[in-house]
Assembly symmetry: C2
Homo-oligomer: 162 residues x 2
């Protein structure tokens, strides 16, 4: 897998927090429902994410999770890197890039390519902030509405034609 489910969930959870940034703590149960993430699993994930410094939590009655940074100051790359780290040493890396696991001491014929791959991957990751994702989402919603309107008109016309 290029990306695990867990990282995907982490990103979606943070995205959801970004969406509601500034409106107080958000409950795990809410995030789980809206983002379609198994709740007990999300508990684990968010708890881990606290150590990243991106999110924090408040316990008790009106408790929940919230972002510690502005959405534009959290890049996807930051989250991925953090999630990789927690599993002890870059898990999502490629065997030949890290000298330890490469039988040729990181000098195999493929390693230059893996480095390129790694770079271009994180070029995208680091170039995408939560803010960017939010804006994309807004645009998408706008487009969908326009399409719906267009479709409705289409429906009406068809109705008349019959």
């Amino acid at each position: 897998m290029l990306i695990t489910q867990k990282k995907q969930y982490a990103l979606r959870a943070i995205f959801e927090l970004a969406k509601r940034h500034g409106r107080g703590p958000i409950k795990i149960s809410t995030i789980a429902r809206v983002q379609a993430i198994p709740m007990r699993f999300l508990e684990v994930i968010l708890n881990e994410l606290k150590k990243s410094g991106f999110v924090s939590a408040k316990r008790g009655y009106q408790g929940g999770y919230y972002l510690l940074r502005r959405p534009r100051d959290i890049a996807v790359g930051d989250v991925i890197r953090f999630m990789d780290k927690t599993g002890e040493g870059e898990q999502d890396c490629i065997a030949c890039v890290s000298k330890d696991s490469c039988p040729f001491d990181g000098q195999c014929a493929l390693s230059p390519m893996w480095e390129k791959v790694w770079e271009s991957l994180f070029c995208v990751y680091d170039g995408t902030t939560m803010q960017d994702l939010l804006e994309l989402e807004l645009e998408r919603i706008k487009n969908r509405k326009q399409q719906e309107n267009a479709a409705e008109k289409g429906c009406d016309r068809r109705g008349l034609e019959i």
Copy 2:
């Protein structure tokens, strides 16, 4: 993992065949030794690769595997795509990109990013042929020799200084 061990092995095996292209069939045992791949596992891998049309094999006494195309006509992307296919449907893909597994019908906030990631990944894969890898390898060897020469001289000088 970004790339599995098996795919890595497949690439290294094909690379080795490319290195010896035009010199008749190469034995599995040779490839396994030179590329540090478990032999019985490599048997399985090369056998699968026959279906890709990149390699073919000859049995018996002076048998072995050989490339069906010129090294410059085999890109890393071709190999990766083939290996992905054999596992039934793009395994190395991302959940949200394929509509089936995305709870939001492939319309989640992250999907545009995953598409970008996918593109830039295969941009590297498809832009790297076996020939390219061979040339890189040659250059690497040349550089290492130069370094060794330089190091030897350095040694001599140190010897005199003491």
